[in-house]
Homo-oligomer: 223 residues x 2
Protein backbone atom coordinates (compact mmCIF):
# COMPACT_ATOMS: atom_id res chain seq x y z
CA UNK A 1 0.00 0.00 0.00
CA UNK A 2 2.70 2.42 0.94
CA UNK A 3 4.16 1.70 -2.44
CA UNK A 4 1.02 3.09 -3.98
CA UNK A 5 1.38 6.18 -1.89
CA UNK A 6 4.87 6.68 -3.18
CA UNK A 7 3.96 5.77 -6.75
CA UNK A 8 0.30 6.38 -7.30
CA UNK A 9 0.48 5.45 -10.97
CA UNK A 10 1.57 1.95 -10.07
CA UNK A 11 -0.05 -0.71 -12.24
CA UNK A 12 2.08 -3.67 -11.20
CA UNK A 13 0.49 -6.03 -8.66
CA UNK A 14 2.56 -6.54 -5.51
CA UNK A 15 2.64 -10.14 -4.21
CA UNK A 16 0.83 -10.43 -0.88
CA UNK A 17 3.92 -11.59 1.02
CA UNK A 18 5.92 -8.61 -0.15
CA UNK A 19 3.37 -6.01 0.87
CA UNK A 20 4.33 -3.65 3.65
CA UNK A 21 2.17 -4.36 6.65
CA UNK A 22 1.36 -0.83 7.51
CA UNK A 23 -0.12 2.11 5.68
CA UNK A 24 1.52 5.35 6.75
CA UNK A 25 -1.48 7.64 7.22
CA UNK A 26 0.29 10.40 9.03
CA UNK A 27 2.99 12.71 7.77
CA UNK A 28 5.44 11.44 10.38
CA UNK A 29 4.99 7.85 9.24
CA UNK A 30 5.50 8.82 5.62
CA UNK A 31 8.68 10.60 6.62
CA UNK A 32 9.87 7.53 8.48
CA UNK A 33 9.26 5.33 5.49
CA UNK A 34 11.07 7.75 3.28
CA UNK A 35 14.02 7.79 5.66
CA UNK A 36 14.16 4.00 5.56
CA UNK A 37 14.05 4.14 1.80
CA UNK A 38 16.90 6.62 1.56
CA UNK A 39 18.91 4.76 4.18
CA UNK A 40 18.63 1.53 2.19
CA UNK A 41 20.11 3.11 -0.92
CA UNK A 42 22.81 4.89 1.05
CA UNK A 43 23.94 1.76 2.90
CA UNK A 44 23.84 -0.19 -0.34
CA UNK A 45 26.04 2.32 -2.13
CA UNK A 46 28.44 3.02 0.74
CA UNK A 47 28.83 -0.41 2.30
CA UNK A 48 27.90 -2.79 -0.50
CA UNK A 49 25.29 -5.52 -0.77
CA UNK A 50 26.88 -7.96 1.73
CA UNK A 51 26.85 -5.33 4.48
CA UNK A 52 23.31 -4.21 3.74
CA UNK A 53 21.74 -5.52 6.95
CA UNK A 54 18.45 -4.61 8.57
CA UNK A 55 20.29 -3.33 11.63
CA UNK A 56 22.47 -1.02 9.61
CA UNK A 57 19.56 0.36 7.60
CA UNK A 58 17.52 0.96 10.74
CA UNK A 59 20.45 2.68 12.43
CA UNK A 60 21.09 4.93 9.44
CA UNK A 61 17.39 5.74 9.16
CA UNK A 62 17.29 6.62 12.86
CA UNK A 63 14.70 4.02 13.90
CA UNK A 64 14.82 0.71 15.70
CA UNK A 65 14.68 -2.57 13.82
CA UNK A 66 11.31 -3.22 15.37
CA UNK A 67 9.86 -0.07 13.89
CA UNK A 68 11.26 -0.92 10.51
CA UNK A 69 9.53 -4.26 10.63
CA UNK A 70 6.25 -2.46 11.16
CA UNK A 71 6.55 -0.94 7.72
CA UNK A 72 8.33 -3.70 5.84
CA UNK A 73 7.50 -7.28 6.87
CA UNK A 74 10.99 -8.43 5.92
CA UNK A 75 14.21 -7.36 4.28
CA UNK A 76 13.11 -8.51 0.84
CA UNK A 77 10.09 -6.21 0.93
CA UNK A 78 12.46 -3.32 1.42
CA UNK A 79 14.67 -4.25 -1.52
CA UNK A 80 11.61 -5.00 -3.59
CA UNK A 81 10.24 -1.50 -2.98
CA UNK A 82 13.52 0.17 -3.86
CA UNK A 83 13.89 -1.88 -7.02
CA UNK A 84 10.31 -1.13 -7.96
CA UNK A 85 10.85 2.59 -7.70
CA UNK A 86 13.87 2.39 -9.97
CA UNK A 87 12.14 0.28 -12.60
CA UNK A 88 9.11 2.54 -12.67
CA UNK A 89 11.30 5.54 -13.34
CA UNK A 90 12.69 3.74 -16.36
CA UNK A 91 9.22 2.67 -17.50
CA UNK A 92 7.98 6.25 -17.24
CA UNK A 93 10.89 7.50 -19.35
CA UNK A 94 10.09 4.93 -22.02
CA UNK A 95 6.39 5.75 -22.03
CA UNK A 96 7.18 9.44 -22.38
CA UNK A 97 9.56 8.84 -25.28
CA UNK A 98 7.08 6.53 -27.00
CA UNK A 99 4.28 9.08 -26.76
CA UNK A 100 6.52 11.91 -27.85
CA UNK A 101 7.88 10.42 -31.04
CA UNK A 102 4.77 8.60 -32.26
CA UNK A 103 4.14 9.12 -35.96
CA UNK A 104 7.79 9.87 -36.77
CA UNK A 105 9.85 7.80 -39.20
CA UNK A 106 11.01 4.44 -37.85
CA UNK A 107 14.66 5.46 -37.60
CA UNK A 108 13.76 8.43 -35.42
CA UNK A 109 11.53 6.39 -33.12
CA UNK A 110 14.23 3.73 -32.79
CA UNK A 111 17.01 6.18 -31.98
CA UNK A 112 14.89 8.05 -29.44
CA UNK A 113 13.80 4.91 -27.63
CA UNK A 114 17.38 3.70 -27.34
CA UNK A 115 18.49 7.09 -26.08
CA UNK A 116 15.64 7.25 -23.56
CA UNK A 117 16.47 3.83 -22.20
CA UNK A 118 20.19 4.47 -21.90
CA UNK A 119 19.61 7.88 -20.34
CA UNK A 120 17.26 6.48 -17.73
CA UNK A 121 19.67 3.68 -16.84
CA UNK A 122 22.85 5.72 -16.83
CA UNK A 123 21.46 8.71 -14.97
CA UNK A 124 22.52 6.96 -11.75
CA UNK A 125 24.91 4.25 -12.86
CA UNK A 126 25.91 3.42 -9.31
CA UNK A 127 22.34 2.84 -8.16
CA UNK A 128 21.52 0.81 -11.27
CA UNK A 129 24.51 -1.45 -10.66
CA UNK A 130 23.79 -1.87 -6.99
CA UNK A 131 20.19 -2.78 -7.72
CA UNK A 132 21.14 -5.37 -10.32
CA UNK A 133 23.22 -7.04 -7.60
CA UNK A 134 20.36 -6.91 -5.11
CA UNK A 135 17.67 -8.07 -7.54
CA UNK A 136 19.23 -11.52 -7.74
CA UNK A 137 18.09 -12.37 -4.22
CA UNK A 138 14.51 -11.36 -4.89
CA UNK A 139 11.48 -13.00 -6.43
CA UNK A 140 11.15 -10.43 -9.16
CA UNK A 141 9.14 -12.45 -11.66
CA UNK A 142 5.89 -10.52 -11.09
CA UNK A 143 7.56 -7.13 -10.74
CA UNK A 144 9.70 -7.46 -13.86
CA UNK A 145 6.80 -9.08 -15.68
CA UNK A 146 4.53 -6.14 -14.92
CA UNK A 147 7.09 -3.53 -15.88
CA UNK A 148 7.89 -5.45 -19.05
CA UNK A 149 4.25 -5.54 -20.07
CA UNK A 150 3.96 -1.84 -19.36
CA UNK A 151 7.01 -0.97 -21.46
CA UNK A 152 5.94 -3.23 -24.30
CA UNK A 153 2.48 -1.69 -24.13
CA UNK A 154 4.16 1.62 -24.90
CA UNK A 155 6.62 0.33 -27.50
CA UNK A 156 4.12 -1.56 -29.65
CA UNK A 157 1.84 1.39 -30.56
CA UNK A 158 4.88 3.60 -31.07
CA UNK A 159 6.30 1.16 -33.62
CA UNK A 160 2.90 0.74 -35.24
CA UNK A 161 2.66 4.51 -35.63
CA UNK A 162 5.87 4.81 -37.65
CA UNK A 163 5.14 6.91 -40.71
CA UNK A 164 7.29 4.87 -43.07
CA UNK A 165 7.02 1.25 -41.93
CA UNK A 166 4.56 -1.42 -40.90
CA UNK A 167 5.02 -4.65 -38.94
CA UNK A 168 3.53 -8.07 -39.60
CA UNK A 169 4.29 -9.41 -36.13
CA UNK A 170 4.21 -6.36 -33.91
CA UNK A 171 4.19 -8.30 -30.63
CA UNK A 172 7.28 -10.35 -31.39
CA UNK A 173 9.18 -7.30 -32.57
CA UNK A 174 8.19 -5.24 -29.52
CA UNK A 175 9.21 -8.09 -27.28
CA UNK A 176 12.54 -8.54 -29.01
CA UNK A 177 13.28 -4.83 -28.96
CA UNK A 178 12.57 -4.52 -25.25
CA UNK A 179 14.65 -7.60 -24.42
CA UNK A 180 17.58 -6.40 -26.53
CA UNK A 181 17.46 -2.98 -24.86
CA UNK A 182 17.14 -4.27 -21.33
CA UNK A 183 19.57 -7.16 -21.71
CA UNK A 184 22.29 -5.26 -23.51
CA UNK A 185 22.18 -2.31 -21.15
CA UNK A 186 22.36 -4.63 -18.19
CA UNK A 187 25.25 -6.65 -19.58
CA UNK A 188 27.28 -3.45 -19.88
CA UNK A 189 26.13 -1.66 -16.74
CA UNK A 190 26.23 -4.58 -14.38
CA UNK A 191 29.93 -4.97 -14.52
CA UNK A 192 32.47 -2.18 -14.74
CA UNK A 193 30.42 0.09 -16.95
CA UNK A 194 33.74 1.34 -18.22
CA UNK A 195 33.35 4.68 -19.91
CA UNK A 196 34.78 3.14 -23.07
CA UNK A 197 32.17 0.36 -22.92
CA UNK A 198 29.46 2.98 -22.46
CA UNK A 199 30.74 4.92 -25.45
CA UNK A 200 30.63 1.83 -27.65
CA UNK A 201 27.17 0.98 -26.33
CA UNK A 202 25.84 4.44 -27.14
CA UNK A 203 27.27 4.21 -30.63
CA UNK A 204 26.41 0.61 -31.53
CA UNK A 205 23.09 -0.05 -29.79
CA UNK A 206 21.21 2.46 -31.99
CA UNK A 207 22.67 0.70 -35.05
CA UNK A 208 21.57 -2.68 -33.70
CA UNK A 209 18.01 -1.56 -33.06
CA UNK A 210 17.58 0.46 -36.23
CA UNK A 211 18.93 -2.33 -38.41
CA UNK A 212 16.70 -4.86 -36.68
CA UNK A 213 13.52 -2.79 -36.90
CA UNK A 214 14.22 -2.05 -40.53
CA UNK A 215 14.77 -5.74 -41.29
CA UNK A 216 11.65 -6.77 -39.39
CA UNK A 217 9.30 -4.31 -41.12
CA UNK A 218 8.02 -3.46 -44.56
CA UNK A 219 8.24 0.04 -45.99
CA UNK A 220 5.07 2.05 -46.46
CA UNK A 221 4.43 5.31 -48.20
CA UNK A 222 4.00 8.20 -45.72
CA UNK A 223 0.45 9.55 -45.76
Amino acid sequence: MILQVLHSHMAVPVPATLKPRKVPRQARSAATVDAIFQATIQVLLKEGAPRLTTTRVAERAGVSVGTMYQYFPHKKALLYAVLQQHLETVAEAMEAACARYAGQPLAVISDRLVAAYLDAKTRQVATSRALYAVAGELDTADLIGGISRRVQGAIAPALASASDARFDDLDSVSFALRVVLAGTARAVLERGATSSALVILRKELPVVCRAYLCAASKPRRPH
Copy 2:
Protein backbone atom coordinates in the same frame (compact mmCIF):
# COMPACT_ATOMS: atom_id res chain seq x y z
CA MET B 1 44.45 -24.66 -8.68
CA ILE B 2 41.85 -27.33 -8.44
CA LEU B 3 39.97 -25.31 -10.97
CA GLN B 4 42.83 -25.89 -13.35
CA VAL B 5 42.60 -29.57 -12.68
CA LEU B 6 38.95 -29.54 -13.60
CA HIS B 7 39.41 -27.19 -16.54
CA SER B 8 42.97 -27.41 -17.77
CA HIS B 9 42.33 -24.98 -20.61
CA MET B 10 41.49 -22.23 -18.15
CA ALA B 11 42.87 -18.88 -19.22
CA VAL B 12 41.00 -16.68 -16.75
CA PRO B 13 42.99 -15.58 -13.69
CA VAL B 14 41.38 -16.48 -10.38
CA PRO B 15 41.58 -13.77 -7.68
CA ALA B 16 43.82 -14.88 -4.84
CA THR B 17 41.07 -14.73 -2.24
CA LEU B 18 38.84 -16.99 -4.27
CA LYS B 19 41.41 -19.71 -4.80
CA PRO B 20 40.77 -23.05 -3.17
CA ARG B 21 43.36 -23.59 -0.48
CA LYS B 22 44.21 -27.15 -1.30
CA VAL B 23 45.31 -29.00 -4.38
CA PRO B 24 43.77 -32.45 -4.53
CA ARG B 25 46.72 -34.63 -5.51
CA GLN B 26 45.11 -37.97 -4.83
CA ALA B 27 42.20 -39.58 -6.56
CA ARG B 28 40.17 -39.58 -3.34
CA SER B 29 40.56 -35.84 -2.94
CA ALA B 30 39.52 -35.20 -6.53
CA ALA B 31 36.46 -37.35 -5.94
CA THR B 32 35.61 -35.38 -2.80
CA VAL B 33 35.87 -32.09 -4.66
CA ASP B 34 33.71 -33.43 -7.43
CA ALA B 35 31.12 -34.57 -4.90
CA ILE B 36 31.07 -31.09 -3.37
CA PHE B 37 30.66 -29.63 -6.83
CA GLN B 38 27.74 -31.87 -7.71
CA ALA B 39 26.16 -31.34 -4.31
CA THR B 40 26.26 -27.58 -4.77
CA ILE B 41 24.34 -27.74 -8.04
CA GLN B 42 21.87 -30.27 -6.64
CA VAL B 43 21.11 -28.25 -3.53
CA LEU B 44 20.80 -25.10 -5.61
CA LEU B 45 18.31 -26.69 -8.00
CA LYS B 46 16.31 -28.61 -5.41
CA GLU B 47 16.23 -26.18 -2.49
CA GLY B 48 16.83 -22.81 -4.13
CA ALA B 49 19.47 -20.15 -3.56
CA PRO B 50 18.29 -19.03 -0.07
CA ARG B 51 18.61 -22.59 1.27
CA LEU B 52 22.00 -23.16 -0.34
CA THR B 53 24.02 -23.29 2.90
CA THR B 54 27.47 -24.69 3.52
CA THR B 55 26.04 -27.20 5.98
CA ARG B 56 23.53 -28.52 3.48
CA VAL B 57 26.10 -28.81 0.70
CA ALA B 58 28.54 -30.64 2.99
CA GLU B 59 25.81 -32.99 4.19
CA ARG B 60 24.70 -33.80 0.65
CA ALA B 61 28.32 -34.29 -0.45
CA GLY B 62 28.89 -36.62 2.49
CA VAL B 63 31.67 -34.64 4.16
CA SER B 64 31.89 -32.39 7.20
CA VAL B 65 31.86 -28.61 6.88
CA GLY B 66 35.44 -28.58 8.09
CA THR B 67 36.57 -30.78 5.23
CA MET B 68 34.75 -28.64 2.74
CA TYR B 69 36.58 -25.58 4.03
CA GLN B 70 39.86 -27.33 3.31
CA TYR B 71 39.05 -27.27 -0.37
CA PHE B 72 37.10 -24.03 -0.66
CA PRO B 73 38.14 -21.20 1.65
CA HIS B 74 34.60 -19.87 1.77
CA LYS B 75 31.18 -20.25 0.26
CA LYS B 76 31.83 -17.74 -2.48
CA ALA B 77 34.78 -19.75 -3.78
CA LEU B 78 32.39 -22.65 -4.24
CA LEU B 79 29.85 -20.64 -6.19
CA TYR B 80 32.62 -18.98 -8.16
CA ALA B 81 33.97 -22.37 -9.25
CA VAL B 82 30.54 -23.61 -10.30
CA LEU B 83 29.82 -20.44 -12.24
CA GLN B 84 33.23 -20.61 -13.87
CA GLN B 85 32.61 -24.11 -15.12
CA HIS B 86 29.32 -23.05 -16.67
CA LEU B 87 30.75 -19.98 -18.38
CA GLU B 88 33.68 -21.92 -19.80
CA THR B 89 31.33 -24.42 -21.35
CA VAL B 90 29.61 -21.56 -23.13
CA ALA B 91 32.94 -20.02 -24.18
CA GLU B 92 34.09 -23.35 -25.62
CA ALA B 93 30.91 -23.66 -27.63
CA MET B 94 31.41 -20.18 -29.06
CA GLU B 95 35.06 -20.84 -29.91
CA ALA B 96 34.12 -24.05 -31.66
CA ALA B 97 31.40 -22.35 -33.70
CA CYS B 98 33.70 -19.46 -34.61
CA ALA B 99 36.42 -21.82 -35.83
CA ARG B 100 33.97 -24.01 -37.69
CA TYR B 101 32.25 -21.33 -39.76
CA ALA B 102 35.23 -19.08 -40.50
CA GLY B 103 35.35 -17.98 -44.12
CA GLN B 104 31.62 -18.42 -44.68
CA PRO B 105 29.31 -15.59 -45.73
CA LEU B 106 28.46 -13.14 -42.94
CA ALA B 107 24.84 -14.27 -42.69
CA VAL B 108 25.93 -17.85 -42.10
CA ILE B 109 28.48 -16.91 -39.45
CA SER B 110 25.94 -14.71 -37.67
CA ASP B 111 23.22 -17.35 -37.61
CA ARG B 112 25.59 -20.04 -36.41
CA LEU B 113 27.01 -17.93 -33.60
CA VAL B 114 23.54 -17.04 -32.37
CA ALA B 115 22.51 -20.69 -32.52
CA ALA B 116 25.65 -21.80 -30.70
CA TYR B 117 25.11 -19.30 -27.91
CA LEU B 118 21.45 -20.11 -27.43
CA ASP B 119 22.13 -23.85 -27.55
CA ALA B 120 24.84 -23.60 -24.92
CA LYS B 121 22.65 -21.50 -22.63
CA THR B 122 19.44 -23.44 -23.05
CA ARG B 123 20.98 -26.90 -22.82
CA GLN B 124 20.40 -26.71 -19.07
CA VAL B 125 17.96 -23.86 -18.61
CA ALA B 126 17.46 -24.65 -14.93
CA THR B 127 21.17 -24.50 -14.12
CA SER B 128 21.62 -21.31 -16.15
CA ARG B 129 18.80 -19.61 -14.27
CA ALA B 130 20.03 -20.77 -10.89
CA LEU B 131 23.52 -19.51 -11.65
CA TYR B 132 22.30 -16.09 -12.75
CA ALA B 133 20.66 -15.80 -9.32
CA VAL B 134 23.81 -16.87 -7.53
CA ALA B 135 26.19 -14.70 -9.57
CA GLY B 136 24.73 -11.54 -8.08
CA GLU B 137 26.36 -12.24 -4.72
CA LEU B 138 29.79 -12.77 -6.26
CA ASP B 139 32.62 -10.54 -7.33
CA THR B 140 32.52 -11.70 -10.91
CA ALA B 141 34.24 -8.77 -12.59
CA ASP B 142 37.46 -10.67 -13.31
CA LEU B 143 35.76 -13.93 -14.20
CA ILE B 144 33.24 -12.36 -16.57
CA GLY B 145 35.93 -10.04 -17.92
CA GLY B 146 38.20 -12.96 -18.77
CA ILE B 147 35.45 -15.00 -20.39
CA SER B 148 34.29 -11.96 -22.32
CA ARG B 149 37.76 -11.35 -23.69
CA ARG B 150 38.04 -14.98 -24.62
CA VAL B 151 34.71 -14.99 -26.47
CA GLN B 152 35.46 -11.71 -28.23
CA GLY B 153 38.87 -13.08 -29.17
CA ALA B 154 37.02 -15.81 -31.02
CA ILE B 155 34.27 -13.63 -32.50
CA ALA B 156 36.52 -10.94 -33.96
CA PRO B 157 38.58 -13.16 -36.33
CA ALA B 158 35.42 -15.05 -37.30
CA LEU B 159 33.76 -11.80 -38.38
CA ALA B 160 36.94 -10.65 -40.11
CA SER B 161 37.01 -13.89 -42.07
CA ALA B 162 33.56 -13.42 -43.59
CA SER B 163 33.82 -14.01 -47.31
CA ASP B 164 31.44 -11.24 -48.31
CA ALA B 165 31.96 -8.42 -45.78
CA ARG B 166 34.62 -6.36 -44.07
CA PHE B 167 34.50 -4.26 -40.89
CA ASP B 168 36.00 -0.85 -40.23
CA ASP B 169 35.73 -1.11 -36.47
CA LEU B 170 36.02 -4.80 -35.75
CA ASP B 171 36.52 -4.42 -32.00
CA SER B 172 33.43 -2.31 -31.41
CA VAL B 173 31.30 -4.65 -33.50
CA SER B 174 32.62 -7.76 -31.76
CA PHE B 175 31.99 -6.14 -28.42
CA ALA B 176 28.47 -5.10 -29.35
CA LEU B 177 27.63 -8.52 -30.77
CA ARG B 178 28.81 -10.33 -27.66
CA VAL B 179 26.96 -7.95 -25.35
CA VAL B 180 23.74 -8.23 -27.36
CA LEU B 181 23.96 -12.03 -27.33
CA ALA B 182 24.79 -12.33 -23.64
CA GLY B 183 22.42 -9.64 -22.46
CA THR B 184 19.43 -10.67 -24.51
CA ALA B 185 19.77 -14.33 -23.66
CA ARG B 186 20.05 -13.47 -19.98
CA ALA B 187 17.05 -11.16 -20.02
CA VAL B 188 14.91 -13.97 -21.37
CA LEU B 189 16.42 -16.89 -19.46
CA GLU B 190 16.69 -15.24 -16.09
CA ARG B 191 13.02 -14.96 -15.57
CA GLY B 192 10.41 -17.49 -16.58
CA ALA B 193 12.09 -18.51 -19.81
CA THR B 194 8.60 -19.24 -21.04
CA SER B 195 8.67 -21.52 -24.02
CA SER B 196 6.89 -18.82 -26.00
CA ALA B 197 9.58 -16.30 -25.04
CA LEU B 198 12.25 -18.77 -26.10
CA VAL B 199 10.52 -19.32 -29.43
CA ILE B 200 10.44 -15.59 -30.11
CA LEU B 201 14.07 -15.27 -29.03
CA ARG B 202 15.16 -18.05 -31.39
CA LYS B 203 13.30 -16.41 -34.23
CA GLU B 204 14.15 -12.73 -33.64
CA LEU B 205 17.68 -12.78 -32.23
CA PRO B 206 19.18 -14.07 -35.50
CA VAL B 207 17.38 -11.24 -37.33
CA VAL B 208 18.74 -8.70 -34.84
CA CYS B 209 22.34 -9.88 -35.21
CA ARG B 210 22.27 -10.39 -38.95
CA ALA B 211 20.74 -6.98 -39.56
CA TYR B 212 23.25 -5.34 -37.23
CA LEU B 213 26.31 -7.03 -38.72
CA CYS B 214 25.11 -6.20 -42.21
CA ALA B 215 24.58 -2.55 -41.25
CA ALA B 216 27.96 -2.32 -39.54
CA SER B 217 29.99 -3.77 -42.43
CA LYS B 218 30.75 -3.06 -46.06
CA PRO B 219 30.26 -5.67 -48.77
CA ARG B 220 33.30 -7.17 -50.47
CA ARG B 221 33.59 -9.42 -53.47
CA PRO B 222 34.27 -13.06 -52.52
CA HIS B 223 37.78 -14.15 -53.54
